[in-house]
């Protein structure tokens, strides 16, 4: 799920703090923005944009945090609107709905735990690449900016 890898260079203290903050941003906004699933994405996006001219290490982790938030947005938005339609319209609670909410919760909790762990490790200057998201970030985030 997560791999500790050697980064192309050893990030400095300031860089590690900023990179770690990109994950913390999503966590804080997730708690503050509940139940709206978009708040954490907006917070991460704002942080990403403000750091797009930052160092490679910071940009890399901002991108990984953003990508993970983006995929959670799809899962959570669908669940959110499904719930809204049950409360306010003619939809009824089905086994399918409950199963969806359980799976969405499992994915969210996993992402939450991994995000906390990554935030802690990144703060120490340790480079962590997530399964799939790490590879995707490597494709998107280039060294030469």
């Amino acid at each position: 799920m997560i791999n500790i890898k050697k980064f192309t260079y050893q990030p400095g203290e300031h860089e590690a703090e900023k990179a770690s903050n990109s994950y913390l941003m999503s966590l804080v906004a997730l708690i503050a923005g509940l139940p709206l699933p978009i708040m954490n994405l907006i917070a991460t996006l704002v942080f990403y944009v403000s750091n797009r001219k930052g160092t490679y290490f910071v940009r890399w982790h901002c991108t990984q945090a953003l990508l993970s938030q983006l995929s959670m947005l799809f899962i959570n938005s669908f669940g959110f609107w499904w719930t809204v339609s049950i409360i306010f319209s003619n939809e009824i609670i089905t086994a399918k709905y409950i199963a969806y909410i359980i799976v969405a919760l499992i994915f969210n909790i996993t992402e939450f735990i991994v995000t906390i762990y990554t935030a802690i490790q990144t703060r120490k200057g340790i480079h962590i690449e997530w399964w799939f998201y790490g590879n995707l970030t490597n494709l998107i985030c280039r060294t030469g900016l």
Binding site: S71, I75, I87, F88, S89, N90, I92, I93, T94, A95, K96, I98, A99, Y100, I102, V103, I106, F107, W131, F132, N135, L136, L139
Partner: protein
């Protein structure tokens, strides 16, 4: 690049397969959702029926009750509907109206029986209301109109009697969502055809009332609460066009005529 795509697809597959397998579990029984909602519905049905029972006079004439019961039993048997789930109440009122309450309570006003030209017309309206009951439209309407939490508070006795009266009035005087009405009409045609009752007069009934609507609006409650009756009659005719069966009457002509004057 290829590795990343495969990993992405694995995550997507993992999500959907987990959803698929988890949805096979009967969560509704585990969380007792169905039990909770059926108890709530039962309680609401009783409360609303009490409102009408107190304000209107029930027609308990055995001839009328048995005749209507013959019609409903025939419709239920032909459509594999548990007859016990439909609780019919005939009330003395000139309004041309019939409506469903939660938990299968079906209220029919004597005005509807009097103004139906034949049993097929009456059966059409009854089938329409049974369709609302079978498709669980009543609870859906209540939830969307007044909210789930409020409904539960009424059923647990926290709602005032005025609120219950207002909500009961809402059920008798306000139409369902347009899509639900159409669904009930189409289902009603199926019920009628299965029971070998000609659906044509049901459409005629709507045409007839739509035409007379402007003249005597006061009594045509069922039509005024069910908008676009002409359009409804048209799609009923269209849907019933391909359906043919050996149509029969349930009651004898004599019984029907007697029923209308009782």
């Amino acid at each position: 690049m290829k590795k990343t795509i495969i990993q992405g697809l694995i995550i997507v597959a993992l999500f959907f397969s987990a959803w698929f397998f988890l949805s096979k579990i009967d969560w509704l029984s585990i969380f007792k959702i169905e039990k909770l909602s059926s108890t709530t519905e039962e309680k609401l049905g009783e409360l609303f029926w009490e409102v009408f029972q107190k304000s209107e006079k029930e027609n308990n004439n055995p001839f009328v009750v048995n005749s209507i019961d013959s019609l409903i039993t025939k419709i239920c048997i032909s459509n594999k509907i548990d007859r016990e789930t439909i609780k019919v109440h005939i009330l003395y009122k000139d309004d041309i109206n019939a409506f469903a309450l939660p938990d299968g309570h079906l209220i029919i006003y004597t005005g509807l029986i009097e103004h139906s030209d034949n049993e097929q017309e009456l059966c059409g309206v009854i089938c329409h209301e049974i369709a609302h009951i079978q498709q669980r439209h009543v609870m859906k309407k209540l939830v969307s109109e007044i909210g789930l939490s409020f409904l539960i508070s009424i059923s647990t006795g926290s709602g005032g009697s005025e609120t219950i009266r207002e909500t009961a009035k809402l059920l008798s005087s306000k139409a369902f969502d347009r899509n639900l009405e159409k669904e009930a009409d189409i289902k009603a045609v199926d019920y009628l055809v299965n029971a070998k009752i000609n659906p044509g007069p049901f459409a005629d009934f709507l045409y007839k009332l739509a035409g007379e609507e402007s003249e005597v609006t006061n009594y045509f409650t069922w039509i005024s609460t069910h908008p676009d009756s002409k359009e409804r009659a048209e799609y009923i005719v269209e849907y019933a066009k391909d359906k043919t069966a050996n149509y029969k009457t349930i009651l004898t002509q004599n019984t029907w005529q007697k029923l209308k004057v009782q």
